[in-house]
């Protein structure tokens, strides 16, 4: 089942065409990797998907609903979770409270003036933290966590509203190789068991070819290849982009 359908998405900055007529789809329970060299348009593409950047043309549909023109927080409400390339968490709160914030938002309790935030949805928060292996550190302030652990907290927060689509921008950047593999293994399990569609960008080709079900390749703002990891790896155009024409 198609969860995310992107059609002819385009964005230019000044005279530079950052993304040109990119179309792809992500299905439920599938891990789709978006790869490409630096400047290929991955981040622009991502920022259009989550509402931070308005596309010039094209459409983004999530479960049949248009996302273009919606603010990030509205897109989240529809069931799209995301993690950032550079982690963004609430430094003055504990790990559990970070997840509680996402849960409070999901249950639309943010404007409550007189309940106690620290006692709201603590059990649900702990369950989410257990899923990402962060339960032991629930009491620690986010400001003191190791980078890999922050990534996992972000994942727990992204899962708080039962997303059907997870957008992960370089989920393993800054992590040690073993942590990378563990995190992607976790994402893959979540996707398959919960039927969540996962779209991620990644520089580490080991991660991509081990964990992705399908791969799309961007270069110069255009989609140049799409398919199973093995097929993409063998694609002469992809080899040209990554290795230069001399190696093709």
């Amino acid at each position: 089942m198609t969860v995310l359908a992107v059609k002819e998405l385009s964005k230019a900055y000044g005279g530079v065409q950052a993304v040109r007529k990119v179309s792809f789809a992500v299905n439920a329970g599938e891990l789709l990797a978006m790869i490409g060299p630096n400047g290929a348009g991955k981040t622009t593409c991502f920022n259009m998907l989550n509402g931070q950047v308005e596309p010039d043309a094209g459409s983004i549909e999530f479960e049949g609903r248009r996302l273009t023109g919606l603010a990030p927080r509205e897109i989240w409400r529809l069931g799209v979770g995301r993690t950032f390339q550079i982690t963004a968490t609430f430094g003055s709160m504990s790990v559990r409270e970070n997840v509680q914030m996402a849960l409070l938002s999901h249950h639309r309790r943010l404007w409550s003036l007189f309940s106690l935030a620290a006692c709201s949805y603590a059990g649900e928060a702990d369950a989410l933290l257990a899923r990402v292996g962060m339960l032991e550190q629930a009491e620690r302030p986010c400001a003191v966590l190791a980078y890999g652990d922050l990534k996992r907290v972000e994942l727990a927060m992204a899962l708080a509203n039962d997303p059907r689509l997870l957008l992960m921008d370089e989920p393993t950047a800054g992590m040690a190789p073993r942590e990378r593999s563990e995190l992607m293994q976790l994402a893959a399990e979540l996707a398959r068991s919960g039927g969540i569609a996962v779209l991620f960008t990644e520089h580490d080709m080991d991660v991509v070819f081990t964990h992705a079900d399908r791969v799309i390749v961007l270069s110069g703002g255009e989609l140049i290849a799409e398919g199973k990891p093995a097929a993409v790896r063998a694609d002469p155009r992809v080899r040209e982009v990554y290795l230069g024409s001399g190696h093709a």
């Binding site: 927080r73 430094g91 003055s92 404007w111």
Partner: protein, 607 residues
């Protein structure tokens, strides 16, 4: 207006713009490089004026101007080396507090050295006459100023763009950390920038003496003008400062020329508010570079322990017992302490957890006070009803101003809140028929059953403790947490569905409501109100209270308010130069406890 009067007003505006530009350029330079908003910049301008006036009889006018400017430059360098250098790593608000302490010290120094009366400066020899332009008399000296401003702009441009030192300054303005990493000696660069900023401010003051007398009010008046210019032009942009100085001076000049002199006080702030809404980083400014690792990260909030709740309960009980053993003066002072504690807690609510650094919180204190007073005077309401209704007018004001304010952040937000407070102040100050103008309103007394000092004390105690408890409670609720979430990471907050602006707007309004309650209580406790209630100094008092206590703690603002109110009362009664003493104490506290008093105590005893 005839063509000739248009021309004369235009030239007047050009002449006024020059001095304004000099001050603003110095302020902008200092901010650009050191990221310090130098509240004392107007004081440097005032020093320049007084020094030039004092030196002119001995040395002649034309020698006194550069000498005064150099003396102020030396003073600026000294201040940087002795005080500010120790605070670069401290939170920006604390730096601001330190520069405000300097304002107090310089003001009293000026009072001590030159007395309280306005001093008229000499005419400039050689330029004391007038020329005829379009059939009207125009002072020669003003023509000189019209040329002088652009000449300084050209000199600064050369310094910045064509010298090695200028390159370093521009590099540090763009990215301070990177400049340091490349081996730029920050210490000397910062001291030099402060000296240059001081030189420009002193020069701006000195060249102004043939045009207007030196007065003790020059400092705050100049700094608010300079803030407006710098913010309109774009922080850190010298051409922007020039453009904005021209714009503001011309608009003011034409307001006077058209006979609207009453709105001149407001008009510059309206221009600033309009510019900030349309171009949030000023006419020629750029989005500020992110400061890296500024200040310590706040620890997570813990629910108060039983011991803490018990201690606060005992304190409240103790306060309730005071009228049994004390009367008269002590009760009046404690009433002040209580309502300023509420004022400080309401400011902390948006400043700490909300991250909205308001420089104009007194606006809501004053709106509450005036609304309550006017409801009694003009509306004929009984005192009890006015006390209950007054704060809602403050909330309404906060609702309207807040809508604009939450669209900005950091220094720009601080300046816009200041601008709105100044607009409110100007309107109240000038609307003689309705608000009593500068005299204010008198005869606003509590109802008969609240007339005794102890009865009014109990009312204030109940209202303030209740309101403070309510605000604290909200911070433990999802609303308060979401507010902090928006401050910690707007990006993440948005990504989990938190409407950061909406929450901030609501928090701003709520804080305005409670500041208004404090103001209404204040009005009835004094029996009168004057525009002082919402002047810049009152806003700064609030900041001082919050920062003294520590912005990262809940109870801090209460202790800060108590300490500050008591200090002000005790010192002001006993010592002539009380401002300097308070300024000195603030400087000592800031240098000794960069995290605030409560923050220090917590760090000291928590482990």
């Amino acid at each position: 207006m005839t063509a000739s009067s248009v021309l004369i007003q235009f030239l007047n505006g050009l002449a006024s713009a020059s001095s304004l530009f000099l001050v603003a350029a110095g302020l902008s330079l200092i901010f650009g490089v050191t990221r310090i908003v130098n509240f004392a910049h107007g004081s440097l301008f005032m020093l320049g004026m007084y020094l030039a006036v004092a030196l002119a009889p001995e040395l002649g006018y034309w020698a006194s101007v550069p000498l005064a400017a150099l003396a102020v430059a030396a003073f600026g360098a000294l201040v940087e080396a002795l005080v500010l250098r120790r605070l670069y790593a401290a939170p920006e608000l604390l730096q601001l507090l330190a520069t405000f302490a300097l304002v107090l010290v310089v003001k009293d120094f000026t009072l001590w050295a030159w007395g309280p009366d306005d001093i008229l400066g000499p005419r400039a020899p050689g330029l004391s006459g007038a020329v005829t332009i379009a059939g009207r008399q125009f002072p020669e000296y003003d023509l000189f100023l019209i040329v002088f401003g652009p000449a300084v702009l050209a000199a600064l441009w050369y310094l910045m763009m064509r010298t090695r030192w200028g390159t370093l300054v521009r590099a540090a303005t763009q990215d301070r950390d990177m400049a340091a990493a490349l081996g730029v000696n920050q210490k000397w660069l910062f001291t030099a920038v402060f000296a240059l900023g001081g030189l420009l401010a002193g020069l701006g003051g000195a060249v102004q003496i043939p045009r207007e007398p030196a007065t003790l009010f020059m400092d705050l008046q100049t700094i608010s003008d300079a803030f407006v210019v710098v913010v309109v032009g774009g922080l850190g942009s010298i051409p922007g400062a020039f453009l904005a100085a021209l714009l503001i001076a011309e608009i003011k000049s034409f307001c006077i020329g058209l006979g609207f002199s009453k709105i001149t006080l407001v008009v510059e702030f309206i221009v600033m508010a309009a510019v900030l809404v349309l171009r949030p980083w000023g006419l020629l400014g750029r989005m500020p570079a992110l400061a890296r690792g500024a200040g310590a990260v706040e620890p997570p909030m813990r629910l108060p322990s039983r011991g803490m709740v018990g201690a606060l309960g005992v304190l409240a009980l103790g306060l309730a017992l005071v009228p049994l053993v004390q009367s008269g003066y002590t009760l009046v002072l404690l009433t002040d302490v209580l309502l300023f504690a509420l004022f400080a807690v309401s400011l902390h609510f948006i400043m700490g957890p909300g991250g909205l650094h308001s420089f104009g919180h007194a606006a809501y204190f004053g709106l509450g006070a005036y609304a309550a007073g006017l409801l009694v005077h003009k509306g004929g309401l009984p005192m009890e009803a006015a006390l209950l209704a007054g704060p809602w007018f403050a909330a309404l004001g906060a609702l309207v101003f807040g809508w604009f304010c939450v669209r900005l952040s950091g220094v720009y937000l601080a300046m816009l809140t200041l601008a709105f407070a100044q607009i409110a102040w100007s309107i109240i100050f000038q609307w003689d028929q309705f608000t009593g103008g500068s005299n204010g309103l008198v005869g606003i007394w509590p109802a008969a059953w609240l007339a005794s000092k102890s009865a009014y004390y109990y009312l204030t105690l109940a209202a303030c403790l209740g309101a403070i408890a309510l605000l604290w409670r909200v911070l433990y609720a999802p609303f308060g947490y979401a507010l902090r979430a928006g401050r910690d990471s707007p990006l993440r907050a948005d990504a989990i569905g938190i409407d950061v602006r909406g929450l901030q707007w609501a928090a701003f309004t709520l804080a305005g409501l409670f500041a208004g309650l404090a103001g209404a209580l204040f009005a009835f406790s004094k029996g009168s109100i004057s525009p002082e209630a919402l002047a810049v100094t009152r806003s700064v008092d609030g900041l001082v209270m919050v920062l003294l206590g520590g912005v990262q703690t809940l109870t801090g603002p209460v202790w800060g308010a108590a300490l500050f109110t008591w200090l002000q009362d005790a010192v002001a009664r006993g010592i002539d130069y009380w401002r300097a003493v308070i300024g000195g104490v603030i400087l000592l506290i800031v240098l000794a406890f960069p995290q605030g008093v409560t923050g220090f105590l917590r760090a000291r005893f928590a482990r």
